[in-house]
């Protein structure tokens, strides 16, 4: 039976050897995201990602709000990484408004940003654990996340969405009890990370499941434009904090991990090492922080110059950049968010094709893909 092409319908030949399985959006392994895989035996021969289930038009909505009012809305795109998604936005807005924020505010932003990085990585680690069937590795990071959520709560006044790094600086100064609590938390968590290594990262079954799985060679990683942990695991020592230092990262002493195995294991290890480095940065920030104001006076209806700004920072998942075009009014003319999740998504079909079905969740989550962030 042939169907005329004008009807908009098409037929597809059915291959009995292949099975097309839709993973998501109700699948526990995919969240608000769907991809269809075609399997032949235990091998994936085709993978087609299909994002967009949580597209809310954040870019369009910013055009209706002034620079301050977009903050709570933009935060909700990336709930584990709220400070890092609004920080480049605030930086771009400040560039367009022509103001410089006080140094103490920059330090506070760094503290919040690194705290968010740990929160995001712990969340990542939890899901990676459950994707590999390791339920303890789900519960432990989720429990220890509470300590860092509490740190964020002391500083930002909320548990998830702080609206902290607004254009002009930060909302409030550091409370007194923060430092003692933070040092306690770091001391405790550094010990916990050793436990994590024992139970998860050095577990032979974990090594078996991740080593040599989903290899993305250095050259391909660069040409595909992946960012963050995916790039660093592919033997590229690239981090916006080093490449184009913003805030005071130039003065901080920390190292950027990279591995030459380019596989899922390397991506997991990068996350682990980055959590240690984040705590190191936060300790330094707390010691070096100067006193002074934390917020530049700024009217909510602050006008901007005509022009454009492109800012980028190293968010928890990789380089996050904002391109804001302004026509001089109180509202941005065009905001384009280039999120790390979307940039890493391009590696997903490349890594899935040719791998085992059982490796699919491990590879998928090792890219640290956050559907809400990618869909904006």
């Amino acid at each position: 039976m042939s169907i005329p092409a004008e009807a908009g319908l098409y037929t597809q030949a059915v291959d009995d050897d292949k099975l097309t399985v839709s993973i998501g959006p109700q699948h526990p392994g995919a969240g608000h995201f769907r991809f269809t895989i075609t399997v032949e035996g235990d091998t994936i021969v085709d993978a087609v990602p299909d994002p967009g289930y949580v597209h809310r038009g954040a870019e369009k909505q910013t055009e209706y709000r002034n620079y301050l009012q977009s903050i709570p809305m933009l935060e909700r795109s990336s709930l584990t990484d709220v400070t890092n998604i609004i920080m480049p936005y605030s930086m771009a807005a400040e560039e367009l408004m022509g103001i410089e924020i006080p140094p103490r505010a920059k330090y506070l932003r760094m503290i919040m940003s690194e705290n968010q990085r740990i929160l995001s990585h712990l969340y990542w680690m939890a899901i990676q654990g459950i994707f590999l069937g390791h339920s303890t590795s789900f519960m432990w990071p989720m429990g220890d996340r509470e300590m860092f959520i509490d740190l964020g709560q002391i500083l930002g006044g909320a548990r998830v969405t702080y609206s902290f790094a607004i254009p002009g600086g930060v909302r409030n100064d550091l409370p007194e009890e923060f430092k003692g609590r933070a040092i306690k938390t770091f001391n405790h968590f550094e010990r916990r990370l050793v436990d994590y290594e024992r139970i998860f990262y050095n577990n032979p079954l974990f090594l078996k499941r991740t080593q040599g799985v989903g290899v993305l060679p250095r050259k391909e990683a660069i040409s595909l434009g992946v960012v963050g942990q995916t790039l660093r695991a592919s033997n590229v020592k690239s981090d916006v904090r080093i490449d184009e230092p913003y805030n005071f990262y130039k003065e901080m002493d920390f190292e950027v991990p990279s591995f030459d195995t380019c596989d899922t294991w390397a991506r997991c290890m990068v996350h682990l090492i980055e959590m240690r480095q984040s705590m190191k940065i936060m300790r330094q920030c707390l010691d070096k922080m100067p006193s002074g104001p934390v917020r530049a006076k700024l009217s909510p209806q602050q006008r901007t110059i005509v022009g454009e700004a492109y800012t980028r920072i190293e968010a928890a998942r990789g380089a996050m950049s904002f391109h804001i075009i302004s026509d001089g009014s109180t509202k941005p003319y065009r905001v384009k968010i280039s999120v790390p999740s979307m940039r890493n998504l391009i590696a997903l079909p490349r890594l899935l094709i040719g791998s085992h079905v059982a490796d699919m969740p491990a590879i998928y989550w090792s890219l640290d893909y956050w559907p809400v962030e990618a869909d904006k």
Binding site: G29, V39, F131, G133, H134, S135, K208
Partner: protein, 405 residues
């Protein structure tokens, strides 16, 4: 099922639940009766096993009644022994060493597992049901599941789909029938009880494939096929590992005999390799993490269990836990000397303590291990476990031939 708005609906729903309960009970018990009463009479043949110069008399292969008092060709001699007392076969099958006991134990083991894992995982686990640390959580779950709607997918093969929980329950229950739990507490005695237990284990892959296929769901199907792969490739090392125990026990296929043969030394010492192989393969048989590949929840939703809801799902889970209990007791009987132990503690208590320890060892890997991959699992099975179990067979033969044991 629609929401309850009036008494009529309520009565209908209760009737439906009672109906399903009535179906479940005979579907579990009838196969048991069929296997253990009818089959032994019909099949009657002789052949050699392991060249042990034993003649198998299948009419005596498995008996729950006193063989001296009954005539195999006269059904009335069975009926005359039926009763409801604590020594009657019906009570044995349904209550004490049988299904109810195993189900209660399993439900407590479910609670114990959840609590243990919670403690390992930095949580508190079940807390509210039953006042004391959520000890009645399993029963709360049971009642919740009972009041859920049974959903049969539109394109599923309804007959096979719904027969899976009964088949699983029957197979798990049949496994219990041949396992004695103390010298006096047993359902059926047989000179070949180990052989029968292994034969029953062979049913499970078929049932899981049936479940996967009948669900008419891609995830279920992949899960069913994975279960088939896993169980078939792990059955061979399982059988070979048991073989060394049989050799050590002097060719006895009777679990009672095997336990009695361990009065001097527990077989876990001469047959350590076999014990490890049995432990790993049994873990794969009951699909526990790290071998829960057929129901890998991150990639296959719930594997072959995906489409099952309500008490149907509950029955499947209960059957799996009964299977876990049966395999743990097999481990105790084969390697840990069964009910043997110092006097003040009774034999039954020894057996239960040992079984609970074995179950804990079965449960604990879930707390610190991720899932392995199918190809790794099958590679492990065919490359290592078969080799190890054969090595232990040779050790057993040498020990036996040199007269050390």
């Amino acid at each position: 099922m629609a929401a309850i708005t009036n008494f009529e609906d309520f009565a209908k729903r209760i009737l439906k639940i009672v109906f399903w309960l009535l179906i479940i009970l005979p579907m579990v018990i009838l196969p048991l009766f069929y296997i253990f009463y009818v089959l032994p009479i019909e099949i009657s043949c002789n052949f050699n096993v392991l060249n042990c110069s034993q003649k198998i008399d299948w009419s005596l292969a498995l008996y729950m009644f006193d063989p001296t008092k009954m005539n195999p060709l006269d059904p009335t001699s069975y009926i005359s022994q039926l009763g409801l007392g604590a020594t009657s076969p019906l009570f044995k099958v349904s209550t004490f060493p049988g299904l109810t006991f195993a189900a209660l134990l399993s439900s407590m083991v479910i609670w114990y597992e959840r609590k243990l894992l919670a403690k390992m995982q930095y949580r508190v686990g079940p807390l509210y049901a039953g006042r004391i640390e959520g000890i009645l959580q399993s029963f709360a779950d049971l009642f919740k599941l009972l009041f859920k709607e049974i959903v049969i997918p539109a394109k599923a093969d309804a007959l096979f789909f719904i027969s899976v929980p009964f088949a699983l329950m029957a197979a798990s229950g049949a496994l219990l029938a041949v396992i004695p739990i103390s010298p006096t507490n047993y359902i059926a005695l047989s000179p070949y009880s180990l052989l029968i237990a292994i034969a029953i284990l062979g049913f499970f892959p078929i049932i899981t494939v049936l479940a996967g296929w009948a669900s008419s769901n891609k995830f279920s199907f992949i899960g069913g096929i994975r279960a088939l792969y896993q169980m078939i490739s792990y059955e061979i090392p399982l059988i070979i590992s048991v073989l060394s125990v049989v050799i050590l026990a002097g060719g006895s296929l009777d679990l009672m005999g095997i336990v009695n043969a361990q009065s001097k030394i527990w077989f876990i010492i001469p047959a350590l390799l076999a014990a490890i192989v049995f432990y790993l393969t049994a873990m794969a048989e009951v699909e526990r993490i790290p071998f829960d590949i057929p129901e890998a929840d991150s990639e296959l939703v719930a594997g072959w269990l995906t489409e099952y809801t309500s008490m149907v799902f509950g029955v499947i889970n209960l059957a799996i836990y009964i299977k876990l209990y049966a395999l743990s007791s097999l481990f105790t009987l084969l390697f840990l000397g069964g009910w043997q132990g110092p006097a003040p503690i009774p034999a039954l208590a020894w057996f239960l303590i040992k079984t609970l320890i074995v179950m804990t060892i079965f449960i604990i890997p879930r707390g610190f291990n991720p899932r392995v991959r199918l190809d790794q699992l099958i590679g492990l099975g065919w490359l290592w476990l078969i080799g190890l179990s054969f090595a232990n067979v040779f050790i057993a033969v040498i020990l036996r031939a040199s007269g050390l044991l």
